[in-house]
């Protein structure tokens, strides 16, 4: 994994953004930006050359699932890997996220180990299909 890649962290709870950022720093990443919901994230994604998105689901304004659908629907950024980190733990939600094209799904509360595993898996797959 390229530790210089640009990561966008989207969550309406500032505590959670900070925690995810801390964990990513522990994993060696140095280039992270935050957004507090999909509406804030969307213009950033359009102009920001982000390599990876970590997003919550349940947010005011634009939700994480809508953000994911918008990303997949925009040819320029459609291939950006998206990791959903959410408290939504119902089967239907997980299936919905999978159908929308999510690359990984983490249920809150989660551990640093889980985050590392999911990111490793996402980038391993990306390398295989490249």
């Amino acid at each position: 994994m390229d530790t210089n890649m640009r990561i966008l962290i989207v969550d309406d709870f500032s505590t959670m953004r900070r925690i995810v950022k801390n964990l990513l720093t522990d994993l060696g990443f140095t280039n992270m930006t935050e957004a507090d919901d999909g509406n804030t994230a969307w213009p950033m994604l359009q102009s920001g050359n982000f390599d990876f998105v970590v997003t919550d689901w349940n947010m005011p304004g634009m939700t994480g699932i809508d953000l994911l659908r918008n990303i997949r629907g925009d040819a320029r950024i459609a291939k950006t890997p998206v990791l959903m980190v959410t408290a939504e733990a119902q089967r239907d939600q997980i299936i919905q996220a999978a159908q929308a094209g999510v690359n990984g799904y983490i249920i809150k509360p989660f551990t640093a180990q889980t985050l590392k595993e999911k990111m490793d898996k996402i980038f391993q797959r990306a390398a295989e299909t490249a």
Partner: protein, 239 residues
């Protein structure tokens, strides 16, 4: 149905049948309209009776005063307390994360001190091979410091991670605030319907929840997926 109503209905039906037999379309139409109207009127009368009964019950039990207190004071108070809980836990979580960040700089200092010790050990072993035992001591101190530093770094990461509770509990509290607000609105509607004194809902603004998502899992509530369940489900979908 009382006897008067029965007699009235029976007479109307007889008139209607006679009108049909003699092909009097105008009388048939009028008869039908009269029948439907009498049905509507009895329904309205019934609803009016129920409404009067409810109003009387509310007055008799002095419920309007109690409800007015609930809806006007206690429920908005409960909402503002819940808002306060969210703010306090958020502040506390950020304070903890600030302290973790500060303490992390100490672990960086420890790592630098360890590398200085290692350099000192190298210099000593070259310049003063006669005091090799001092070199051994320095190496031991370095190893101990390195282990403590690693432990401290790990503990600080876990401490930061533990602040996740603020997001989870905050989401749950937001849902309770919405529920309390709905109860408040329903009570105010009831009071208005029963002619209570309160006219306007308190206008404290609240953030609306979006969508109909189930939200964080609460122990004892609906079964929800663990990370392992989620992984298995995604694997079955080809992920």
């Amino acid at each position: 149905m009382n006897a008067d109503l029965r007699a009235q209905l029976s007479a109307r039906l007889r008139d209607l049948l006679e009108a049909i037999d003699r092909n009097d379309d105008a009388a048939v139409d009028a008869g039908m309209v009269a029948l439907v109207r009498s049905h509507d009127e009895s329904l309205f009368a019934h609803v009016a009776r129920l409404t009067r009964g409810l109003h009387q019950a509310v007055v008799n039990l002095r419920l309007d005063e109690q409800l007015a207190t609930f809806a006007g004071d206690e429920i908005p108070d409960a909402r503002s307390r819940l808002d306060y809980v969210m703010k306090v836990t958020e502040t506390a979580a950020h304070r903890t994360l600030d302290l973790v960040d500060q303490a992390r700089t100490v672990t960086v200092g420890l790592e630098q001190a360890v590398s200085h010790l290692s350099e000192a050990e190298n210099v000593l072993s070259v310049a003063h091979p006669d005091v090799a035992n001092v070199g051994v001591l320095i190496a031991e101190v370095g190893a101990t410091l390195r282990a403590h530093g690693a432990y401290l770094r790990q503990t600080l990461s876990e401490l930061a991670q533990a602040q996740e509770y603020q997001d989870i509990s905050g989401q749950i509290i937001r849902r309770v605030i919405t529920l309390v607000r709905n109860v408040e609105t329903a009570l105010l509607e009831l009071l208005r319907a029963a002619g209570g004194g309160l006219q306007a809902a308190p206008t404290r603004p609240l953030k609306a929840l979006t969508g109909e998502l189930p939200g964080p899992a609460v122990p004892g509530s609906d079964p929800s997926a663990s990370q392992q369940d989620a992984d298995e489900l995604l694997a079955s979908l080809g992920f």
